[in-house]
């Protein structure tokens, strides 16, 4: 076995979390690097890095329903919004600043799971539509969901504060421990952004592990069967209704948790944020990262969220300067973002994950071409 990592001799091994010891070793190294980064990173990199960890949770959710179960959803922004507002309403403490907004003043230990559960509940409500519709028609319905959701968020002032006004995002206070304030943890001084990063890191590791395990369980295999051919799956005895509902529920749960946390970094929620663009961002994370891969979802989320920083970084070394040129950084980012989707779909449908596989295979066989 040693030295032949491609050799798989049992089904159990094929679906195991890590096939080789090397993989395990590298994962540990990667995790250590991820833990070491925030200790020296400047804040303008650390803030998007923290956001990208939360976004990765949402991207994993979308990948579960779209990548694994094959149910195309452009409505992720809606579920993110549901999570964000549930969390905000549950967390806000009634006071003079609440201006008649819904405020219950619960702790993070309540609002975080609640945000996921409420979103999951809505996912269950939407899922029956997916039973009747397939492919593009499903994409349309989920697209419509974003518009209806946005209208709901704009109109329901008690919950959202209304368009243009908004409300504060949920408060990151876990059993009295504040993540959004500087302070000492076990004798080490950490800034608020560092604390948020570590929170995101822990949550992401847990959620990713759960998702990875889910994907290789009975449920995950049922998802894959439905994606590959729903009729064949049904004939094999997979209950389509049951598993499509499960797919939407789990995906929405992840989206709800991600939505609840995403905006805590900036601290502010505005109904117009949950638009089609946000949905497309998540679809792009999944596509750029790698469809039906957990590691790909994380890579995609980090890449897409850090894109503005990357562009800033790269533009120092390019002859084109966004500060003086006709297109500013934001526009450049949008164009690059659009073109990246196009380029990845044409040249590397497996996304960053596919690129990684290619690089790995190249070095595996090095110095031979195959």
């Amino acid at each position: 076995m040693r030295g032949r990592p491609g050799l798989i001799t049992s089904y159990r091994k094929d679906i195991s979390l890590f096939r080789t010891g090397t993989q395990r070793l590298w994962l540990v190294v990667l995790l250590l690097v991820a833990l070491w980064l925030p200790l020296w990173m400047p804040n303008d990199w650390l803030v998007p890095a923290g956001i990208s960890l939360f976004a990765a949770i949402g991207a994993i959710g979308l990948n579960l329903v779209t990548g694994y179960a094959g149910q195309v959803s452009l409505g992720h922004a809606f579920f993110l919004g549901i999570g964000a507002y549930t969390a905000s309403a549950l967390s806000t403490v009634e006071g003079p600043g609440t201006r008649g907004l819904l405020a219950y003043g619960y702790d993070m230990i309540i609002w975080l799971p609640a945000a996921g559960l409420v979103a999951a509940l809505l996912g269950v409500i939407v899922a029956p539509v997916a039973l009747r519709l397939k492919g593009l028609y499903l994409a349309f319905v989920t697209l419509g969901l974003v518009f209806l959701g946005q209208h709901l968020f704009q109109s329901w002032r008690e919950l959202t504060g209304g368009a243009g006004i908004g409300r504060r995002a949920a408060e990151l206070s876990l059993l009295g421990f504040r993540f959004d304030e500087d302070g000492e943890v076990f004798g080490v001084f950490l800034s608020d952004t560092q604390k948020i990063y570590f929170l995101g890191f822990v949550l992401l590791v847990v959620m990713a592990l759960v998702a990875k395990n889910l994907a290789r369980s009975r449920i995950g295999r049922a998802f894959a069967a439905i994606r590959d051919r729903d009729i064949a799956a049904e004939i094999m005895g997979i209950d389509l209704t049951r598993y499509k509902v499960i797919a939407f529920a789990i995906s929405s749960f992840y989206a709800g948790v991600a939505g609840a946390l995403l905006f805590t970094v900036t601290g502010f929620l505005e109904p117009n944020a949950f638009n089609l663009e946000l949905s497309i961002f998540y679809v792009a994370m999944v596509l750029i990262g790698g469809v039906a891969t957990i590691s790909g979802s994380i890579m995609g989320a980090v890449f897409v969220t850090m894109l503005p920083n990357l562009i800033d970084f790269v533009s120092d070394y390019l002859p084109y300067d966004p500060a003086t040129g006709p297109l500013n950084t934001g526009q450049l980012e949008a164009i690059l973002f659009g073109l990246l989707i196009v380029v990845f779909l044409i040249f590397e449908p497996l996304g960053l994950y596919g690129l990684w596989i290619r690089i790995r295979n190249y070095w595996k066989a090095w110095p031979f071409s195959y």
């Binding site: 492919g135 028609y137 209208h151 109109s155 497309i280 526009q331 949008a334 973002f337 989707i341 779909l345």
Partner: protein, 297 residues
Amino acid sequence: MTQFLQATVNGLSLAAVYALIAIGFVVIYKSTQVLSFAQPALVLTGAYFVSYFAFSLGWNFWLGLGLAIAIAVFLGLFVERTALRPMIGKPVFSVAILTIGLDIAIRTVINDLIGVDFRGVGSPWLGQWDWGGAVVRHAQVATVVITVVLVVGVVAFFRYSRLGLAMRAAAFDQEVALAQGISVAVVFAVAWGMAGGLAAVAGMLIGTSFAGVSAGSAFVALKALPAIVVGGIDSLPGAVVGSLIVGLAEAYAATYQAGNFDFLGANFSQVVPWLVMFIVLLVRPYGLFGTKEVERV
């Protein structure tokens, strides 16, 4: 009654704009099996260039429109050749997402050109008539007339011309069409060029019927999506009927919701098209006229 008449007039002109965009969608979908989310970008491109030639430069309106159509057609052809040709045979959804990517890239450039203000389009239809208390703007009539002419033209093209026949054949079965000597590449190009041209006209009409061209015009174009879904994404008559339903529903909602159904929130009419789409899809999963997908086991 006057209110009803007014709402109907507004609805019809809105429906006409949706119909033009919707037909572009359907033509592309039928002949290339691609659902193009890039249509709003083409609409915006057309609208911007009409505005640029006829308004900013002050050229003759029709000349400007012609040039804008030419640019949009070229853009459609360019997009098809560079981005969509390599994707032939790939999953429908991947291609749809690819067009979203294109849409973002193109729209960002055009939005930068448009700037933050509404731009006029320099159209010759500025007056209005009074029909029994209802205000009918010349632009609205022009919208309906132009749409009817173009729709009839497109239908006639598909029914009577050789190329139209070829396109119908390719829509039916690409491989069989190839075997009959039809150049599917030409069919694809024509479909995208046609959609580009129709989008440019629709963009101009959005500019004339609303306050002008702005970055938000793309959202008007996006509302043609529920229209084609209501009609069924592969049906030309469906696109027209769907546009009528969606446009009228939106206009009636805009007129009657305020005061009667205030709890639905301000600007509720903007989401009515999507709501109509939900209801229709729940009852008929393939739209009103869409071909039901037959699956072989």
